[in-house]
Symmetry: C2
Subunit: 218 residues, 2 copies
């Protein structure tokens, strides 16, 4: 019945996480949250100052998870530079990583505000991580750009927008067709020879399960 504050907080966050994911932020009432946890109204507001405060705390969790995962990949020097970049970006947008579930969660129509807040974290948090990889690649003379940061910013902005089910309605085929174009553009941005990153196609296919977000194409 009575619990440590942190424990209760997490119970509330877990419940909210699930409910927001199912019904969206606006579609979930505080009553539903506290009923799910099995606490009274006052308790909820003892731990959180508002409903939005719950969402912000949830986003903090996501932040840690998403950027932590990204950082983990980014600093793993056993993975070749090329591959690291794709993996970091893919972890968010295409493949079936941990953070992918979060992102999918967020991509419900009712979650506009949460979506925006997560996007903000990604667009501000991911480029610095990726830029470090690029610098490494520049040192190894794999890439060549005077603006590694802005380069990454552009790539992240793109993938977060276009490979976002809410923003651009693409069939699986259309999405697949975007990938060579995307790789081509990335090659140009990073100043590498055309075709030299095309081998990454297979990573998208593999991570994607042959289709995209929905069921896989037969």
């Amino acid at each position: 019945m009575r619990k440590e504050a942190i424990e209760r907080r997490n119970e509330i966050l877990d419940a909210a996480d699930e409910l927001f994911g199912q019904k969206g932020f606006d579609g979930t009432s505080t009553n539903e949250i506290l009923e799910k946890v099995g606490i009274a109204r006052g308790t909820l507001y003892y731990h959180f100052k508002s409903k939005e405060d719950i969402m912000d705390a949830l986003i903090d969790r996501y932040n840690t998870q998403i950027l932590g995962a990204a950082n983990g990949i980014a600093t793993d020097k056993s993975i070749p530079v090329h591959e690291r970049i794709v993996r970091v970006v893919m972890a968010l947008n295409v493949s079936g990583g941990n953070s992918k579930e979060i992102i999918d969660h967020i991509h419900k129509p009712q979650n506009a505000l949460m979506h925006q807040k997560i996007q903000k974290v990604i667009i501000n948090g991911l480029p610095p991580i990726l830029t470090e990889i690029i610098r490494e690649g520049i040192e190894q003379e794999l890439f060549s750009t005077p603006y590694p940061y802005e380069c990454m910013e552009m790539i992240v902005a793109y993938t977060n927008t276009v490979f976002d089910d809410d923003m651009v309605d693409l069939t699986d085929d259309e999405r697949a067709a975007r990938i060579p174009a995307f790789i081509f553009n990335v090659e140009r941005l990073l100043g590498v020879e055309s075709g030299s990153l095309m081998y990454m196609m297979k990573m998208f296919d593999g991570g994607n399960g042959g289709g995209g977000h929905g069921n896989d194409g037969g």
Copy 2:
């Protein structure tokens, strides 16, 4: 007192437009709207089926205005190809065009859903318009890319994200520093020689009034 339905509808939309711009969608109550128009509750719901319905109608208006303006510039063959592109993009993001006011309007923290809906219109509606310009530029051998559409999609996604006050917190100086990098990257994407688009810097400066979204930097 008694008016044509279309007229009333527009009165309501005008009021909602202003109020949403000042206080955001969530921050504006239907009472405020109907008081501003000077009508009763029932009247509001006679003309619109819900509050969100009002927002959607408002967005339809924006669509027409934004994409209409973009199209007007895009098809004006008296403007050189290079300049047309910048102008179309700038009309949304940087300069003080008509649609800029709408965009600024939308960039209030409380307007996440409206923001998202407008972004969706832009990311889906603008690249086709811009792609036509690019094709013209390719014919004139100004540009060279096998993926004009995806190129434009990337540029639009970028400007809509990074030059968006809500998404990336940039000082006026930081924003100004992004511009040469942005132009450089666009040059690479469009396959033109480095520096050949740099003259466009002045367009950003001019349209921007020397600063950015806030008061101009001294």
